[in-house]
């Protein structure tokens, strides 16, 4: 009865607005970045929305990895709360978006199998998805081989994708084809769900999730080109022909060897000169990615302006939350390894002028 519009989104809008106000502010980010060490960082985080989760554990057992896990748990709970109150038409896309973490877990489990890691080691890097995920992660890690781990996925949406890629894994013994296949399939499905939405919702979802897809697609193309030196045809096959701003022609231009900076600046004219970043790719590419992600954040913030009863609100919030978690993870790692602020600050996906 109340599927979309004001009726459908009134409750979820209020809920997300309330949660939105708890995203870490720029003032808080400054304090967190300036924390003397890991212990001080945790002390500061205890005063944020992550406090109750970090306080579930004694300080003695709160290792960097464990704290990240607790922080991720907060996101998982937030997602569950949001998705429950979302109208049914929007739920598949929201759930699919959140399942990006399941793809992450799947890749982590496959890496663990490849590296012959124990379940105890592997589970530390898994995102706590709870009941949303039915991935047999432990059985996979303990299966002993990538082929057996993939077999355990029979009946899940990942099985077919991986089974097509298994032939290449068998001959190359590299997880690269499996991981690329998973990523491409995931974003193709997101795109299908997105296109199935009613028009007002579709436009909003395109702005938020589509922008994120743009960044991924571009960064894939650039990395394949610079790091892996892949050929034009491989690069085209390993990327996607759609997005919010990025079009197939842009990807093909990159694949054909056109100037990367030129393509990026045509798509994002407001970016500063990025040619210098490309001179030293190891340092420069992560910085470029952060700059692109800032554009995604801007798009997400825009979703909260104007008519508010659409899917863009919960989606934008989840994208922002995902980036907050990403930044916190990087920060926890930096603080626990005692890196100086200037070494990591540029790599945190934070908005430059957050009010």
């Amino acid at each position: 009865m109340f599927k979309t519009g004001v009726w459908g989104y009134a409750g979820i809008h209020a809920r997300v607005r309330a949660k939105y106000s708890y995203l870490i502010t720029s003032q808080e980010w400054s304090e967190l970045i300036g924390a003397a060490d890991f212990t001080a960082l945790i002390g500061l985080l205890r005063r944020t929305v992550y406090g109750p989760y970090l306080m579930q554990l004694d300080e003695g057992v709160l290792t960097p990895r464990r704290s990240v896990y607790q922080i991720e748990k907060q996101m998982a709970d937030t997602f569950n709360l949001i998705v429950r109150s979302t109208p049914s038409s929007a739920r598949p896309l929201l759930t699919k978006f959140f399942l990006n973490f399941e793809v992450h877990n799947l890749k982590a489990a496959l890496r663990a199998v490849q590296a012959r890691a124990s379940w105890d080691q592997a589970q530390r890097v898994l995102f706590p998805l709870g009941a949303v995920s039915t991935l047999p992660a432990q059985a996979m890690v303990e299966s002993g081989s990538v082929a057996s781990a993939v077999e355990l996925l029979r009946g899940t949406p990942y099985y077919n994708t991986l089974s097509y890629a298994m032939e290449r894994y068998t001959s190359e013994q590299s997880l690269f084809p499996l991981e690329v296949a998973l990523d491409l399939n995931y974003w193709r499905e997101i795109w299908t769900d997105l296109n199935g939405l009613p028009k007002p919702d579709r436009l909003q979802a395109l702005r938020t999730v589509g922008s994120l897809l743009d960044v991924n697609n571009l960064m894939w193309a650039i990395r394949y080109k610079i790091y892996y030196h892949l050929s034009e045809e491989e690069l085209i096959n390993y990327t996607l022909p759609f997005g919010y701003r990025v079009r197939d022609a842009d990807i093909r231009a990159l694949a054909a060897g056109n100037d990367i900076a030129g393509v990026i600046l045509r798509l994002y004219p407001s970016l500063p000169d990025i040619s210098t970043l490309l001179l030293e790719p190891r340092k420069g590419l992560p910085e470029l990615e952060v700059q692109l992600l800032r554009h995604v954040m801007e798009q997400c913030r825009k979703a909260f302006i104007g008519f508010p009863f659409h899917i863009g609100i919960p989606l934008a919030y989840l994208v922002l939350k995902k980036m907050e978690i990403q930044a916190l993870t990087a920060l926890v790692e930096a603080k626990s390894s005692r890196s100086p602020v200037e070494e990591f600050e540029a790599y945190l996906p934070l908005e430059s002028k957050r009010k």
Partner: protein, 654 residues
């Protein structure tokens, strides 16, 4: 009956010499739900050689048990119910391990051969399935192996990658043909100039085009290859059948022996696992757990019979202010027990909350009967239910509980059949004792909503009683399903009655004030709950965003109240649909045979069977939905701990 059985927490201190006898007694009594007390030891205990720590011994038995189960599974032998060995109940590991090893080796050899043949068969089958669609194309596959200027790839590609593959090859000349396609993949032939071979290979590989590689032994046209593959697969299947006969021989020879071994090893594993959870001191063991309060005396006497120096302490647990999860024993009368399965499907009740089995046992068949009122259909359902419930059909024994639920639903269908005057869809044989839903649609719907209001109000009352028993005053007064929620619900119903009939049972002003106050209380329910319970801070975050979220939550509550009540209209809708479906059957029967001959009665019988199967299932699902979603969500939290007593015959008791 309304609450789970009262439990007592028990702690036992036993001398080390009585360990085996006490553990066996605990398992034989089958009432003791054990708690892990292994961390209670106050001092490190030296294990005298050659004894190993209990967890290690238990792990060895568990591993042996898995091995026996593996053999039984390979030989397709049932586990059986072999009694535990006499005495301590523990069989020496050295005594059984060599025997298991010997049988395992015997089975393993055959199993490995079968598995090797199976692998070969799977590979050929994969190839066969990929080439089979090309069998009628008579394609010369030799051209793939020997080409002049053309380079070709025959393979399978996921549909999703086809367009991208074409795009990636736009800069070179190529031919791309789809030979066959199914739901997700396509068999394709990609060819181009030999000088572009590397580009073609890279593009195919990156598009996950998996080439079909034919073993050298298979050559010629696709038709010939498919035929040769089929023959080879048949040969392998015959070899596997021979190996299967060998396994049958082993099964006949060793079946009983394996079942006995399983019984011995399993009881040893259960007892040693139990012992590994005891707290161990220098000369004594500490054992903790739960026992139903009414069994404590008998339990204590039994233990004293095997250990004179045992110390037993027990404490009955009240339901208020519980901070721990206590195992739950549900004790419903036999009549209601089948519905217990439905309740636990939704969730195991917690120790401190009301067990809704009784409520479900009354309301579920009532709702079902109201939606499926027909004397004939009800009688057939009741007979089917009794047949299943009586366990007289061996293959359907696992459905016994389900059978009794069907039987009760059938009985209520009969009762409502009399009320509606309906028998096998015929409405002209009996006079209805109450109404015909088809002729009184509005009345039926109002009645259905009335029933819904009564059931939902019961849901609210159960929540209130639960909160009262648990002394959760905040929840009792301000929760959406507590007193404030109930007052809001009833006052809104009062207002609706006034609008519809101008005859509200209570003055309009009182109803309005009650709705306003209860609405306000619900808006700030979280804050008030924390205030009453003494929890701080009263609000998470800032007050304005809390107020905004609370306001919209109230909005959701109001929509929920409306939709929950209206949801019960489906009871009337299905009662009407039942009569409608029956009418359709008679129309169809008359069309087939206007003279009411054989065709007419055949359609009537088949139609009635269809109604019982199809509509019966839908009505069952709808009744379940009304119970779980509309009613249980008002008061039932679930998440209780299952009562799993230590026993050598698991899964027998609840």
């Amino acid at each position: 009956m309304f609450y789970p059985q009262e439990m007592s927490q028990v702690q036992l201190i036993i001398p080390a010499r009585d360990l085996m006898a006490v553990t066996r007694e605990l398992a034989d009594q089958g009432v003791f739900h054990q708690i892990d007390g292994s961390n209670l030891a106050l001092e490190p205990v030296k294990i005298p050689r050659p004894h190993k720590p209990w967890p290690e011994v238990a792990a060895a038995y568990a591993s042996l048990e898995r091995r026996i189960l593996g053999i039984l599974q390979t030989l397709t032998i049932e586990q059986g119910l072999t009694p535990a060995p006499e005495g301590t109940g523990i069989v020496e590991l050295d005594q059984v391990q060599p025997l298991v090893e010997q049988i395992d080796q015997q089975v393993k050899r055959v199993r490995e051969q079968i598995s090797e043949e199976q692998k070969q068969l799977d590979e050929l089958q994969g190839l066969y399935h990929q080439l089979e669609p090309l069998a009628d194309k008579d394609l010369d596959l030799e051209t793939l192996r020997a080409t002049g200027y053309i380079y070709s790839i025959l393979g399978v590609i996921p549909h999703a990658n086809v367009d991208r593959l074409r795009t990636s090859l736009e800069r070179i000349p190529f031919v791309f043909e789809t030979l066959h396609q199914d739901e997700e993949t396509a068999i394709v032939w990609l060819s181009g100039l030999k000088r572009d071979r590397e580009i073609l290979d890279r593009a195919a590989r990156s598009a996950y085009l998996n080439p079909l590689v034919l073993p050298e032994a298979y050559s010629g046209t696709s038709t010939a290859v498919v035929r040769a593959l089929g023959k080879k697969m048949e040969d392998i299947r015959q070899q596997m059948a021979e190996q299967g006969k060998v396994l049958t021989g082993i099964r006949e020879e060793r079946g009983d022996q394996l079942q006995t071994l399983l019984g011995q090893v399993r009881s040893s594993r259960i007892l040693t696992e139990a012992m590994s959870r005891f707290g161990r001191f220098r000369y004594t063991y500490l054992i903790s757990g739960w026992v139903p309060a009414n069994r404590v005396t008998e339990f204590e006497q039994g233990l004293k019979g095997v250990s004179k120096n045992i110390l037993v302490e027990s404490l009955a647990i009240q339901r208020a202010h519980l901070h721990e999860n206590i195992p739950v024993v549900l004790h419903n009368a036999g009549l209601f027990r089948p519905f217990q399965t439905l309740v636990t499907t939704y969730g195991q009740p917690r120790y401190e909350e009301m067990d809704p089995t009784f409520l479900m046992a009354v309301s579920f068949p009532l709702l079902f009967g109201a939606m499926f009122g027909d004397i004939g259909h009800g009688l057939l359902l009741a007979l089917l239910g009794v047949l299943l419930g009586s366990r007289s059909v061996r293959a359907l024994r696992s459905m016994a509980n389900f059978g009794w639920i069907i039987a009760y639903c059938g009985v209520f269908s009969v009762i409502f059949g009399f009320l509606y005057g309906n028998i096998f869809g015929f409405e002209n044989i009996l006079k209805p004792l109450f109404i015909r839903p088809m002729n009184s649609i509005l009345e039926s719907m109002i009645l259905a909503i009335g029933v819904g209001i009564v059931l939902l109000s019961i849901g609210y009352l159960v929540f209130i009683v639960n909160a009262l028993m648990a002394r959760e005053w905040g929840k009792l007064l301000f929760d959406h399903h507590g007193v404030a929620g109930l007052v809001l619900y009833w006052s809104l119903i009062g207002l609706a009655v006034e609008v519809a009939t101008k005859h509200a049972p209570v003055p309009l002003v009182i109803l309005g004030i009650a709705a306003l106050i209860s609405g306000l209380l619900l808006t700030f329910s979280e804050l008030l709950d924390r205030l009453v319970e003494g929890h701080r801070p009263l609000v998470d975050g800032d007050l304005p965003s809390y107020a905004a979220a609370s306001f919209f939550e109230l909005f959701e509550v109001l929509i929920g109240l409306l939709s929950n009540s209206i949801s019960y209209v489906r009871v009337a809708a299905f009662a009407i649909a039942h009569a409608g479906l029956s009418a359709v059957v008679f129309i169809l029967a008359t069309l087939i045979s206007p003279s009411h001959g054989f065709g007419y009665w055949a359609v009537v019988v088949l139609g009635n069977l269809f109604i019982i199967g199809f509509e019966g299932m839908i009505v069952g699902i709808q009744s379940m939905r009304l119970e779980f979603y509309e009613l249980f969500s008002k008061f039932f939290k679930g998440g209780g701990m299952r009562y799993e007593p230590l026993t050598l015959q698991p899964k027998i008791q609840e």
